[in-house]
Amino acid sequence: MFLTYICCDKNLGLALLNNKNTNMIKKVLIANRGEIAVRIIRSCRELGIKTVAVYSDADRNAMHVRYASEAYHIGPSPSRESYLNADTIIDVALKSNADAIHPGYGFLSENAEFAQKCRDAGIIFIGPSSDAIIRMGDKITARQTMIEAGVPVVPGTQEKITDDESARKILDEIGLPIMIKASAGGGGKGMRLVRKEEELFRAIKLAQSEALTSFGNDTVYIEKYIESPHHIEFQILADTHGNTVHLFERECSVQRRHQKVIEETPSPFLTPELRAEMGNAAIAAAKAVHYFGAGTIEFLVDGNRNFYFLEMNTRLQVEHPITERTTGIDIVKEQLKIASGDTLSFKQSDIQQHGHAIECRISAEDPFNNFTPNPGIVRHISEPNGLGVRTDGYVYEGYEIPMHYDPMISKVITWGRNRKEAIDRMRRALYEYKITGVKTSTKFLERIMRNTDFAAGQYDTHFIDKHKEELLAPCDDDNSISADMAIIAAYFDYIKKFEKAAMGDFALSGNGDKYKWKDYGLMKALQRI
């Protein structure tokens, strides 16, 4: 009797833990690496879901391998031979008895064929249907779908450009400036801006050839070019039972070469009315493709606050934590629940924005030297902490950041009761963030936090270009007191090395003996002079 009681209680406890769903996913393979793999495993751990990491040659030491409950090697360092190898990944999932695959972002996350292959193999793909990925992935199809759903799109063509005559006709209709875009495009590739009529045909040819090399498809179309746009996106969550909600917006206008650098929510540019209107449009957009899972509807908003559908990202976004911070909803957890067949446990009216959140992306690149990538060994790292600060990262002391993958090494997210407090806190957090061994973008980000236009919330996608002199001037004043302090520190470090060598104290434990021996030889040579 007693035993039965315990047993029942245990089942009940598990059921509650798993949101009363006995079909809850039990083991997830994370087909990704870096910070996002670590971030996904965190939510799995909270839900009691086992995790399987996969790794390439370069990633044996990576944090996601250390943090997951299981890890399997999938191939050489280049992504296309490892993290993009759909068949190997599915094979590992089957062998390790994972019932689901979370693709993260990038890599295979928006690959419809991979989603279908997972389902064919009896594995849950944590994301939307392949049909939704295909319909949103092709820009021309997505535009047509949105027009049918009553969601505003940027004026332009709905069909591929086939000849010069029809291109000129469209140009006459919508007027200059225009943008030529690749239908299969993304990340700024295959895009050409046309400001003068005589540039039109050449721009189309260039866009077509770039699209062909980048995406293997030369289909391009024409859109009106929106001057000084804001890039504002809405987070969507939809279950498989037809319930769709949005978790409000993210302002992503601080961009460099079409790559987001800083995101914040709420957007300082939106009015409550526009927010409500865009939220409804985002839900309509998702419903038009029977979307389920987490997704993001990206909009362009012009200076007069007209908004246009840009594209849908059918996956988790890099910048999802700011939404989590202001709504309190763990988006990865919701993805896992939706994929397990759960109904959303909240309605639109339950979701509110509390305070203000900002995210800065920290990259291993040198902002003052044309953002040159800077892979290498992390010597020291101390991450910011304290009230209202979250860091999502994956590097640790002694870790070698590989050259094969994205330079983003972590994200700092700060929260404040209002926008000013969130900015002040971000400035403080970036000051605390110390990483040596590799160059990072923290100083560049700090300068943005100090910029008066940013503080006033007055910026659009041209922000970095407009302020590049202030933001990107090299910070190498070699004649300040601070520079003299740098000289003093270097002097003492040199003296210390010298004395250590003189005392023969070379066999200290430390960063690898071969360096010590090298130092020792050097110091001996030095003593002879």
Binding site: P373, P375, H380, H404, P407, S482, I488, Y491
Partner: protein, 169 residues
């Protein structure tokens, strides 16, 4: 011990006057500083000067006496020029002609393309080599008008930080 320390393009004369535990008095280009200096972590120094707190991070540079130094507001390249390096510099300057230029890898990466051949004439600004790292391709240009003297790597090679790539004369 007095040494020269090069910071960027400035050569500073540095002379230690006195030490007492963590406290030191030191002269930099005629300015006397009384500082309290502690190495708080391997390669990280905390300096207190007139009540102000400075955190200085030293990253080993290309040679044993070279550092990349980060302060709160700036990054510097620093080189210690002691008797030994002065001696070496005086020797080197006689053996290597000034017109020889060596292009080294500024970061680890993979050689994507080498659009020049040995013996080819190049002009200042011509792309000599393209290296990819972290999904980005970077072009490296010739700093001078000259001739490609030697190419030390092949397309497809992985290269490490500061590895010599191409010599121009």
């Amino acid at each position: 011990m007095a040494v020269d320390i090069r910071i960027g393009s400035r050569d500073a004369k540095v002379k230690l006057l006195e030490t007492d535990g963590t406290k030191a008095t030191i002269e930099v280009d005629g300015n006397t500083y009384s500082v309290d200096l502690v190495m708080v972590e391997d390669g990280v120094y905390s300096i207190l000067h007139e009540g102000k707190s400075y955190n200085i991070e030293l990253i080993p540079g290309n040679g044993p006496k070279n550092y990349f130094v980060n302060t709160y507001s700036a990054s510097h390249e620093i080189e210690i020029i002691d008797a030994q390096s002065r001696y070496q510099k005086s020797r080197n300057s006689s053996s290597i002609g000034d017109s020889d230029r060596l292009i080294s890898a500024p970061m680890p990466g993979k050689v994507v393309r080498i659009p020049v051949k040995k013996g080819q004439n190049v002009s200042k600004g011509d792309t000599l080599i393209v290296i990819s790292a972290m999904k980005m391709e970077n072009d490296y240009q010739s700093p001078i008008d000259g001739v490609v003297k030697s190419i030390l790597v092949n397309e497809g090679d992985s290269v490490t930080n500061n590895q010599p790539l191409i010599e121009i004369e």
